[in-house]
């Protein structure tokens, strides 16, 4: 696998000699053979990345492809020694021990989730941790003067005393860039910089990047939005499952098919239980569903979504992180997410009220969360108490719990779902991820739902337990329950689902039957619509 390396030669030459470009300058950054392992996982496997001086370099890849890990290695979040391979920056092998070191060298990362303090002013944020001071006393006039200069560079005219919370997300992003400039940035890394921006702000940001490039700055941009990449990027590196797949020259436009193929082209070798679907009439239907961000009601998170699930059908929702899938599910499940939620829900063709969690449960919905520990389990309590929680009246007579009945219910689920523990009095905190997930599933099965919404049902679960979870899901469907399954793992959706909806940027952008869905067709649906919907 390891491509032969020629010193000082850009890697793309190895992959694609026809696109070799002559360059007078040595590359500003070369990451050679980077391998990073976590206990049980190889997050990066011999990754190579070469960034030329003065270019805008895009990095593409699915969720979990290793983009963020690679950037964390580069910025010293994972210090030198915790990974294998070399970082050659500025012609020297670097050994960053932390972010301070990489920032000192002029490498600045702007994360997707902005790292600004909302209640502090622009100037305070720009110089946070880096204050202009003498003997610990801040020189405010100087700080304001420099802030104004930096703000002008990014095209902002706000006074530096403006609080961050009073600015829009787009302008906050620009403040982040101003902050980067204050640190004498030479290599600017942006992680999905336009993910939460509207069309106009996105364009402004991209223009700014091009302006910086004209002044000689180098940028790395992680993005899914192909139209943005083709507009600003000079070259593209595609990662998949922790490895470099290709490095492409984007100067003369990019081939969408090529990028999609590179992003998803993996073998489908996971095992799934056999499925003979027995699909009935429409069970649950949603029409024109909308939800807005719970803090910022300006942000439209779920946009006019309609879908249905039939009896005995497993329906998948594919999409990238941040597409709004969890938000959609939670807003349907008793408005547990979002503000100004609107839309109609139908069960068996009749309109139903799912505006509170209790009503949603009574309607026959169950939502198995993607975050077991935070939203799913009472970790300090045992299996028994977790299983009965969503349906306490069922095991109680006039408010008094029938301990015997509760015990036998928990015992049944432990046996049926094969929860591995010494007994039902085992604290859920001490169970493995797979067994914890089975406890959460037990809880919702005991509430006897008609439609189960499963949000990333196999996240953080080892391969063996995954198959067990798949088998449980398949069994539930064959018993006539409707399953709505959200997953970021495309092979899982393709292996399990009878029908797949593709969600991107808050909208359902495609619907595919079992036969027509492929990794490529799903990714194409996402990429085609990325960044094209004016907010």
């Amino acid at each position: 696998m390891r491509p032969a390396l020629h010193a000082g030669r850009p890697l793309k030459a190895v992959h694609d000699p026809s696109r070799l470009r002559e360059r007078a300058l040595a590359p500003i950054l070369e990451m050679r053979g980077i391998t990073k392992t976590f206990p049980g996982v190889r997050a990066l496997d011999n990754v190579n990345l070469t960034v030329q001086q003065g270019e805008i370099h895009a990095i593409c890849g699915e969720n979990g492809a290793g983009k963020s890990t690679l950037m964390k290695v580069l910025s010293g979040v994972y210090p030198h020694g915790s990974y294998e391979g070399d970082i050659v920056y500025d012609g020297k092998v670097q050994a960053f021990r932390g972010i301070r070191d990489s920032e000192h060298a002029g490498i600045i990362i702007i994360h997707q989730e902005l790292a600004l303090v909302p209640l502090l002013s622009i100037a305070e944020n720009i110089f946070l941790g880096n204050e202009i001071s003498r003997f610990g006393v801040i020189d405010w006039p100087e700080a304001f003067r420099r802030s104004e200069k930096l703000l002008a560079q990014v095209g902002l005219s706000e006074p530096p005393t403006t609080l961050i919370k009073d600015m829009g997300v787009g302008k906050q992003q620009l403040v982040e860039i101003a902050k980067a400039l204050s640190k004498k940035v030479r290599l600017l890394i942006l992680d999905e910089p336009t993910a939460s921006l509207n069309e106009r702000d996105s364009q402004a940001l991209l223009d700014l990047l091009l302006a910086f490039k004209a002044e000689g700055m180098t940028s790395i941009m992680i993005s899914h939005k192909l139209n943005e990449i083709s507009r600003v990027a000079d070259s593209i590196t595609v990662l998949r499952d922790g490895s470099t797949v290709s490095t492409l020259d984007a100067k003369n436009g990019v081939s969408e098919d090529r990028i999609i193929r590179d992003m998803v082209g993996r073998q489908l070798d996971d095992r799934y239980p056999p499925r003979q679907p027995n699909i009935g009439e429409v069970l649950f239907e949603v029409k024109g569903w909308n939800a807005y961000h719970h803090l910022n009601t300006q942000r439209h998170i779920v946009k006019d979504v309609s879908f249905n699930v039939r009896k005995g059908e497993i329906v998948g929702i594919a999409g990238l992180m941040g597409a709004g899938r969890t938000e959609l599910a939670m807003s349907i499940f008793g408005r547990s997410y979002g503000r100004n939620v609107s839309g109609k829900a139908f069960m068996h063709g009749k309109p139903v009220d799912v505006s509170t969690i209790t009503k949603a449960i009574d309607t026959g919905l169950a939502y198995v969360t993607e975050d077991r520990k935070q939203y799913g389990l009472l970790l300090e309590d045992d299996i028994r108490q977790n299983v009965s929680l969503a349906n306490l009246p069922e095991i109680a007579k006039s408010g008094v719990i029938d301990a015997e009945r509760e015990r036998s219910v928990a015992e049944d689920y432990r046996n049926n779902l094969r929860i591995r523990s010494s007994d039902i009095f085992h604290k859920t905190l001490n169970l493995s991820g797979g067994n914890q997930q089975k406890v959460v599933l037990s809880k919702w099965l005991f509430s006897d739902p008609e439609l189960l919404i499963l949000d990333e049902p196999t996240r953080g679960i080892d391969v063996g337990a995954k198959f067990e979870i798949y088998s449980i899901i398949e069994r539930l469907a064959s018993e006539g329950k409707g399953i709505l399954m959200i997953s970021s793992e495309m092979p899982e959706l393709l292996g399990m689902c009878d029908r797949i909806y593709v969600m991107n940027e808050g909208r359902f952008v495609a619907e595919m039957a079992r036969g027509e869905a492929t990794q490529e067709s799903i990714m194409r649906a996402i990429i085609r619509t990325a960044g094209r919907s004016a907010a």
């Binding site: 547990s336 209790t358 939203y375 799913g376 009472l378 309590d381 929680l389 015990r407 001490n430 509430s447």
Partner: protein, 407 residues
């Protein structure tokens, strides 16, 4: 439990080894051991220094009388703490209810029963108001009840008006706090034979209940407590009931307030461990988000916990008023700290979700025994008492946090 993680061979519940069980329940047994150790220490100390014996009938009676209102409130506070909140206002509520009761009973000469009912309703209203702010408006309970602490202290002054203290209290109310049950069957040659008879009946009842539960657990294979622990625990509790009954019966008999306390403890122990409401209280404290997503009306649970606290604080206020014998503006000052400390010493978690009624009661007794021992046996001044109580609280909670982090 570290040996029992998922892939460990499946062990039958009944075979859980004694040592593991003890480790898991270190905290619960530890509290009982601590209480016994404290009492023994003072007993030995007073014997060695030639002071009157510590474990005496009058001391025991006083221990119950002096701590009754702390224990009554600790039950309510425990539920608040389990939901992850705190109530700092209970000391002031005790003073306020005493003032309201005194005005109704003494100044307006209304029937005691009616006045008591009004007081309980006022307590519920206070709890509902604070609960509304905490549960529905999401104002931190620390702030809401800190405000309540000031507000109700102020209202106590206003209610009492020019009279700095109102007394005397009606005899029927006094009987609640300092009275004992009359001797209906003077047969055993004791000062109060009825008390001894009740103690024997209670002991038999306790033994029957414990063994029935044990045999059911054995039949189902859910008996976790090793046999030796079970017998040891049952024997100690039975002996303690009998001995206390004997001590009390040689003196004035069973205090009325002890009956009230025992009833409340029994009711709340049942509610917290066996009912759906109790289960939801623990769920809210254990993981509010998960509880909410499971259909638990978390706001309502928190609200009800505060209403309940208000009622119990009102009961405690009446008991306190009856015990002190007059309503003054200073009644109940600082009491909230004893109540909160009792809960934490008794094993409630500062993070919510964990705690037991019996634990809070034992915690209150530990504090009470410390108070009494330092005061009567060692004759230490108030400053030492505060110091020691503070250190005991810190040690108990540190121990909890340490245990938690280890697991």
């Amino acid at each position: 439990m570290s040996t029992n993680t998922m892939d460990a061979p499946v062990v039958k519940a009944t075979e859980t080894r004694s040592l593991d069980y003890f480790k898991d329940h270190l905290r619960e047994y530890g509290m009982l051991v601590a209480l016994v150790a404290i009492i023994l220490f003072f007993a030995v100390y007073s014997a060695v220094t030639g002071r009157p014996t510590f474990v005496s009938a009058s001391n025991l009676t006083n221990l119950f009388l002096q701590n009754s209102y702390v224990i009554i409130m600790a039950i309510g506070m425990l539920m608040i703490i389990i939901t992850g909140h705190i109530d700092l206002s209970v000391g002031s509520v005790v003073g306020f209810i005493g003032a309201v009761g005194a005005v109704l009973m003494v100044l307006y000469d209304l029937p005691v029963a009616f006045a008591v009912l009004v007081c309980l309703c006022v307590g519920a209203a206070i709890g509902a108001t604070q609960g509304y702010f905490v549960a529905y408006l999401r104002i931190p309970s620390f702030i809401v009840t800190l405000a309540g602490m000031l507000v109700f202290r102020g209202l106590t002054f206003m209610t009492l008006g020019s009279s700095s203290s109102i007394s005397p209290i009606p005899p029927s109310l006094r009987a609640l706090s300092t009275g004992t049950i009359p001797d209906l069957a003077p047969v055993l040659g004791l000062a109060n034979s009825t008390t001894m008879i009740i103690a024997v009946v209670l002991t038999v009842g306790f033994l029957l209940f414990a063994f029935r539960k044990r045999s059911r657990q054995n039949a189902l294979g859910t008996a976790h407590e090793p046999q030796s622990f079970f017998f040891g625990r049952v024997a100690i509790v039975a002996a303690a009931i009998l001995y206390m009954g004997y001590l009390l019966s040689t003196n004035r008999g069973l205090p009325n307030v002890l009956i009230l306390m025992a009833l409340l403890i029994a009711i709340y122990a049942f509610v917290t461990s066996r009912t759906t409401v109790g289960r939801r209280v623990y769920a809210v404290g254990g993981n509010e988000k998960a509880a909410k997503l499971s259909g638990v009306k978390t706001e309502r649970i928190v609200f009800l916990a505060f209403v309940n606290m208000g009622v119990l604080a009102a009961i405690a206020g009446l008991v306190f008023f009856a015990r002190v014998g007059s309503a003054t503006a200073k009644n109940g000052t600082g009491l909230e700290l004893d109540v909160i400390a009792a809960c934490f010493i008794g094993g409630a978690s500062a993070y919510g979700g964990v705690g037991k009624v019996t634990g809070a009661v034992i915690g209150a007794f530990i504090m009470g025994a410390l108070n009494m021992g330092m005061q009567s046996a060692m004759q230490l001044s108030i400053d030492y008492q505060q110091l020691v109580k503070g250190l005991v609280l810190l040690a108990a909670v540190s121990f909890d946090v340490y245990n938690r982090n280890k697991a």
